[in-house]
Amino acid sequence: MVAPAPTHFTPSRAPLAVVLKGLDKSFGEGDSRTHVLKHTQFDARLGELLMLVGPSGCGKTTLLSILAGTLVADGGEINVLGYRLHEMKSGPITKFRSNHIGFIFQQFNLIPTLTVAENVSVPLLIQGVSVTKAEKKARELLAVVGIPEKADDRPVKLSGGQQQRVAIARALVHEPPLLVCDEPTSALDSENGQHVMEILRTIARQETRTVIVVTHDPRIYKFADRMAEMEDGRILRVLQSPAEIAAAHINF
């Protein structure tokens, strides 16, 4: 199981892991062109769990995709972990993703024909690590997320909560400093959602990683160290502490 999180943590003093400045992104052509991000500013610190919230269509997922290097912005600066992504070509960005980013998806995106351990080992295999080493590390991570006994099962045999734990293990197996999570609890019941968020918060604090979570789910707001509220392609405000978040009574 995951070790208990340290009680003292002050993210505001930690260095910046993600800095986005003047970010623009639009989709479509001509009259159907939609500006999704409008000169957006955003930052996230090492060692914090930052939630990105806002109504549907406000640009949260687009922002997450751009800072994770899976989508190219039309303009602006994207500094992630010291890399200036807006100046990098596609090949180095792919390499950057494989070494520095862990992904947790809404629909888990586990490959159904592979075992759980094989699914977890995928990021290491992408990096060129041998199958034996990758699977050994994968089993260690499955123990960390509390499901070591499921290593040889297929994902289809697992509950939603267990599948998301597998996805977390996969996101962590190559020890990335930045985790991006897209609606990690939306496909889970309340209890499993709480478990998953506990794991993510512990990871963020214990490993001095940055965890950025896009969510709609008010049940998990309490796990955030900071919260950025988006509306109409811009960051509306940033709530700087759990107390501010609790007081804001945000709901979408």
Binding site: R97, T113, L114, P123
Partner: protein, 379 residues
């Protein structure tokens, strides 16, 4: 990653079986069609294979071995007199009807060979002696003849039994092995002089003159010499085989029909495996997108797809060729269907299967190349 690629393929049992079935069926159709074509073609020049001779001399208008225009008997001596010809012998070849014991008739391929040299005689005797053909009213039949000419008898026809050819007695003195004729009738061998008695009388009866060059002489050059000095047409054995096959290719619908079968096999294979592969990639779009997001390069994903495609092609091809070999073995056992699986057929079909796999992989690659890794963040 390549191990995972294969596990992704083999793990999706329905798609995997569909892909293998498509390639197997395609291989089966192409190889079986081509073998059938080669088998039919080999039947067209069976007389050439049965009566081996280095040089075949025929009327100048003759293009193939089953369509003869008789020569004069004196032409044999004209060929013998050509420089560098070691020997020349007459050969009669024609389809004719044999009357069986029960009064029914069967088509036979009557071959009359030179009684002195036995030039053009069957290569392998199963029973009896070739020399017994010198006895009166004697013939040698092939193993197909045993089957065909036994109708109406209580036991299979054998050495010592008698049937009629053109109201004349034909006593069997031997049974030989012979390649199957294009018209399906069994080969019946006798001497040239007796063959012209069995056959309905015509002004000229000599079908071919078999000849051989002097030792060390090039058959092509000697055939050329025969043509120049006699005005007849002289083929080397391989020239006559190709000339016969081309005649059937140009003048019959066989290549078109079999070619359609082969083309159908190619199209079916391409459509089934291409469509299934595309569906396989389509259904795995989110997983492939996730792999791309996690840092797998487009080239890596494409090479995984190529590996999957080649794996399917290799297995499907192996099963298909194996099935063709079994089918061929079964058909040859029946002895009634033309089937010749030359080594070139698996090679050519293998190349075609490779193209099918390449087309299938390209369809998937086009999709992967356009795939944005950000797709995994869309709901």
């Amino acid at each position: 990653m390549y191990r995972l690629a294969l596990k992704m393929l083999f793990g999706d049992h329905a798609k995997y079986l569909m892909l293998i079935s498509g390639i197997t069926f395609s291989t089966l159709l192409m190889a079986q069609g081509a073998s059938l074509f080669c088998g039919i073609m080999s039947w067209t020049f069976a007389t050439l294979r049965n009566s081996r001779a280095a040089i075949w001399v025929a009327d100048p208008k003759v293009e193939q071995v089953n369509d003869t225009k008789p020569l004069r008997d004196t032409d044999v001596n004209r060929v013998r007199s050509v420089r560098n010809v070691a020997w020349a012998a007459p050969l009669f070849s024609s389809t004719i009807q044999a009357r069986l014991l029960d009064g029914s008739f069967k088509l036979i391929q009557l071959v009359g060979i030179d009684a002195t040299t036995f030039a053009g005689a069957p290569a392998k005797m199963l029973r009896g002696r070739l020399e017994d053909l010198r006895l009166p009213n004697t013939v040698i039949i092939d193993d197909l003849g045993v089957e065909r000419l036994s109708e109406g008898r209580s036991r299979p026809i054998d050495v010592g039994d008698v049937f009629e050819i053109n109201d004349r007695e034909a006593r069997i003195v031997g049974i030989c092995r012979a390649y199957r004729s294009f018209f399906g009738g069994p080969y019946v061998y006798t001497t040239y002089d007796r063959a012209v008695q069995y056959a309905p009388t015509q002004r000229k009866m000599l079908s071919f003159i078999l000849a051989a060059p002097q030792p060390g002489r090039d058959p092509h050059a000697v055939a050329h010499e025969i043509e120049r000095e006699t005005g007849l047409r002289a083929f080397t054995e391989s020239e006559f085989i190709w000339s016969t096959m081309w005649w059937y290719v140009k003048n019959t619908g066989i290549p078109f029909n079999v070619g359609t079968l082969v083309l159908l096999g190619f199209i079916v294979g391409t459509v089934i495996s291409g469509q299934t592969f595309y569906a396989f990639v389509h259904e795995n779009t989110r997983n492939l997108g996730a792999l791309k997001a996690m840092g797998a390069s487009t080239w890596k994903l494409c090479s995984m797809l190529i590996l999957q495609s080649l794996a399917v092609g290799f297995i499907g091809y192996g099963v298909g060729i194996g099935a063709v070999a079994l089918l061929g073995n079964f058909l040859l056992g029946l002895g009634k269907v033309p089937f010749l699986l030359l080594w070139q057929i698996p090679v050519i079909v293998g190349v075609a299967v490779f193209f099918i796999c390449a087309i299938s992989a390209v369809l998937g690659i086009l999709r992967i190349a356009r795939l944005e890794p950000a797709i995994v963040f869309r709901g």
